[in-house]
């Protein structure tokens, strides 16, 4: 009796284990940097090679840091949402222009509108790798002390913004 059941039990066990792993998205990496300070960096702004920004940029106020590039197709999808976000003047939106050219990025933004309060130019992943960026768009939320509190991979949908970002920003403001 037991002998006949054993393969079935094993089969069901394996099935359950595989079913659980199917629900996990392998592209969603664990966010290793949550609650860590924003990495040190020294990079110029998109529009001026002589204006250097550092990690001080994200200190002193809550910021939303958005990784984008003119080559990034999904960034097109996300762009209208960012334009909506930037209408709220209390929100500081920092762009991280990743693996792009100054000209190309500027043209891209001129065509669609520039939602960013300031843009860090990172053509060689000097900041992107320390930030654990694996694709664009990716969005980080940093608190007043410059610590990373949240990471979102992929385009932000309207729903993500309303249900995840806004409550988080409110919570950080209250801290």
């Amino acid at each position: 009796m037991m002998r006949g059941l054993l393969p079935i039990i094993l089969f069901i066990g394996l099935g359950v284990a595989l079913a659980i792993s199917l629900t996990k998205d392998p592209r969603r990496l664990e966010a290793a940097l949550i609650d860590q300070p924003f990495p040190e960096f020294s990079l110029s702004t998109l529009d001026d090679p002589d204006t250097i920004l550092t990690e001080q940029t994200v200190k002193g106020q809550i910021s939303v840091v958005n990784v984008f590039g003119s080559w990034c197709v999904t960034c097109n999808v996300e762009h209208p949402i960012l334009m909506g976000i930037t209408k709220d003047e209390n929100i500081r939106l920092v762009g991280l222009n990743w693996r792009d050219g100054r000209e190309k990025a500027r043209t891209w933004l001129d065509k669609r509108g520039d939602p960013y309060d300031l843009i860090v130019f990172d053509p060689d992943s000097e900041l992107a790798i320390p930030l654990g960026v694996s694709g664009a768009p990716e969005t980080f939320v940093t608190d007043e002390s410059g610590r990373i509190r949240y990471k979102h991979s992929g385009a932000i949908s309207f729903e993500d913004w309303e249900k995840t970002f806004l409550p988080l920003l409110k919570k950080l403001e209250a801290e």
Binding site: L29, E30, A32, P130
Partner: protein, 127 residues
Amino acid sequence: MRTFLILLFFWPMPTFAQLAGPTVSADPVLEDRAREIAQSLRCVVCQNQSIDESDAPLAQDMRKLVYSRLQDGDSNEDVINFMRDKYGDYVLLKPPVQSNTYILWVMPFLLLLGGLIWFLRAGRRPS
């Protein structure tokens, strides 16, 4: 004609895979170390390649960073730990032995042992 077509199937096709190693070859010792590290780090965009094998732009930048960190005097372990801090355990191609991977490491041996026990017991039974 048919024989020819069939033969064509067995024709060895040369396939070339270009090695995308670090291009800056200033210091061969450092380069070897960079290579070794690159082989143990997963390319986070292509998932099942190391950054040494991958041609993805991010993998290229990661190789550059590995090399420049070595130049700055980091040990191999420092560099790997840096990447692990940023990308999590996922970036390591060889999963570390730790509490959430015990099953992974122990399972094959358990299965082997189980199979062996089953084999010995089944073999002893009169047919």
